[in-house]
């Protein structure tokens, strides 16, 4: 599989690592995951999933999982523009109102939603 998942969500690592190599960066914040992916794009990896999640705003969930290509190619300019816009957007939300300190039960619900957003796409193994 020519894809890799970058995540700070242990549930994604536990459920998907067997199918797709997953880099579990447990100490990374939402923004740090985005920045890590931005750096990977600069190194030639291609952005495969959109960095922002559906209806959840960046200051509502602490979890973020993004799929990038393993193979390094020419700079993915479109992906770079999307990740930069996403970082700007996430910073705007988080500086306005930081992500709350949730209890473990709520954190688990957010892990589950983050997993589901990826799982649906990964299970269908879209042709890229």
């Amino acid at each position: 599989m020519n894809k890799t998942i970058i995540t700070n969500n242990k549930l994604v690592y536990e459920k998907l690592n067997e199918k797709i190599e997953t880099q579990f960066l447990s100490k990374y914040s939402y923004i740090e995951i985005l920045e890590h992916v931005r750096d990977m794009i600069h190194e030639g990896n291609k952005l495969l999933t959109h960095p922002l999640s559906g209806s959840l705003k960046p200051n509502e969930t602490p979890f973020k999982s993004i799929v990038v290509s393993k193979k390094k190619e020419d700079l993915d300019l479109e992906g770079l523009s999307i990740i930069e816009d996403s970082i700007a957007s996430a910073q705007k939300f988080i500086s306005g109102k930081p992500t709350p300190q949730y209890n473990e039960r709520i954190l688990n619900d957010f892990r589950l939603i983050d997993l589901s957003l990826l799982e649906n796409a990964v299970n269908r193994m879209v042709c890229l």
Binding site: L47, L48, T49, H50, L52, S53, G54, S55, L56, K57, P58, E60, V67, G79, I82, D85, S86, A88, S89, K92, F93, G96, K97, P100, Y102, N103, R105, I106, N108, D109, F110, L112, I113, S116, L117, L118, E119, N120, A121, V126, C127, L128
Partner: protein, 428 residues
């Protein structure tokens, strides 16, 4: 395709011995509705409560809102492929109990859906404070998975919507509105001198609690398709999205899509409304590329001169919105976007997470980050336990007296991105 929509105006709701409509009052038999909800063994308890416009009532956490409707003539039934057999709907005659709604409430996940206030300042932000609501509060079986509970709650609301709608089957409507869209070549020929306008309707389709269904098909599995606008009025599209209150497109909003309504009002006058291009909002960039390519292809094939585009959600869907805008423009149409904005509390930051040069005309449905004060209400239907973890709520949002300070994001449909609200923003 031609649909007569018979509107029965509801001016009150009461419990009664049978479920019926009499002189503008909707009577519901409580036990019948509980029995329908309890048919699903994933639900262990259901309660029914009424909330009338103007009352001191707060409903939370709200999942979906459904206007009761019934097919009177024509093929198929309401919510085809979901609670009735798959059959193309949108023609014949349908009756709607306008002013009555089924509101489903109950806990699904730790961060929760939003609030409807039936009176006070919060009531100004939601259309459901003006209606007579039959609230269905459901409780799940212990240990059930989130997605299974979401499905059970969704189906209970739809089934009760159809059951209550049936009470309007033999009632003479107060008003009948006729909507008609002909097959493409005939439609183009009917008003050859008017600009051909289409509507690109983007359905939220990213995953758990972020889903929408078209004839029962999960929208993430569709490729863009063409829909006669009247199909939506019979429930061809139902909402399964329940994490963002302010810009959630409820099933009510699908049945009463304001873009479709307004395009029909001007159909034959200053534009020729050709139809709806349905598309999705997926997670993979490759899916976005494929779907927006196909949207562009439809715009070209249908020969549209202009399109309106609406989205559901913030962030990820903004990229679909911009890709659709770019490709519809390239296909030869003038494009107007309709969406809400999240530019921060001072309104100074970027409103959307993506942009393109072609996005030169946009109708704003308001800023979701604005703070609102909601005074306490005498009665709560559901629970306020989750206010501080609701989208738009924060630590300290819920005060001991039951009053709430939160972003207007917390109110159901306050900045809904199809324009079924009263907020906007203008350039001066």
């Amino acid at each position: 395709m031609r649909l007569e929509l018979g509107k029965i105006f509801i001016k009150d709701v009461q419990f009664g011995e049978s479920t019926k409509v009499e002189n503008g009052t909707l009577y519901v038999n409580k036990q019948e509705l509980i029995d329908i909800a309890m048919e699903d063994d994933r639900i262990i308890n259901a309660t029914i409560e009424l909330a009338r416009s103007g009352e001191s009532v707060r409903i939370a956490p709200v999942k979906d809102v459904i206007e009761p409707r019934v097919k009177v003539e024509g093929e198929g039934n309401i919510f085809p492929g979901v609670i009735s057999k798959v059959k193309t709907v949108g023609s014949g005659r349908t009756h709607a109990l306008v002013g009555a709604n089924i509101v489903t409430a109950g806990k699904i996940v730790g961060f929760q859906e939003g609030i409807i206030d039936m009176s006070g300042p919060g009531a100004e932000y939601t259309p459901f404070s003006k209606t007579y609501n039959v609230c269905v509060v459901v409780e799940p079986k212990e240990g059930i998975e989130t997605h299974a509970y979401e499905e059970a709650a969704r189906l209970a609301g739809l089934k009760i919507g159809a059951y209550v709608g049936n009470a309007g089957k033999d009632v003479e409507p107060d008003e009948v509105v006729v909507y008609e869209t002909k097959p493409l070549l005939e439609q183009v020929a009917q008003y050859p001198n008017l600009p051909k306008v289409g509507y690109i309707h983007m359905l939220q389709s990213q995953g758990l609690l972020h889903d929408t269904y078209y004839y029962g098909v999960d929208a993430k599995e569709i490729v863009p398709t063409f829909m006669y606008p009247t199909e939506i009025m019979d429930g061809a599209i139902v909402s399964g999205n329940c994490v963002a209150p302010c810009d959630k497109v409820t099933t009510f909003h699908h049945l009463n899509n304001p873009v479709i309504e307004d395009l029909y009002k001007r159909h034959g006058k200053d534009l020729n409304f050709i139809g709806v291009i349905l598309t999705n909002e997926n997670v993979f960039l490759a899916d976005k590329e494929r779907s927006s390519d196909m949207v562009g292809k439809f715009v070209e094939f249908l020969g549209l001169d202009g399109v309106l585009i609406t989205e559901e959600g913030y962030g990820n869907p903004d990229t679909d919105l911009m890709m659709n805008c770019k490709k519809a423009t390239k296909a030869g149409a003038k494009v107007v976007l309709i969406t809400d904005e999240f530019p921060g509390r001072d309104g100074k930051s970027q409103s959307l997470a993506d942009a393109t040069h072609e996005a030169s005309a946009l109708v704003s449905c308001g800023n979701g980050n604005i703070i609102v004060e909601l005074p306490p209400m005498k009665k709560v239907i559901g629970t306020l336990d989750y206010v501080e973890t609701m989208i738009g709520g924060y630590e300290g949002s819920l005060r001991p007296d039951g009053s709430i300070e939160a972003e207007i994001q917390i109110i159901i449909a306050s900045t809904i991105a199809n324009g079924y609200n009263k907020l906007t923003a203008r350039n001066y």
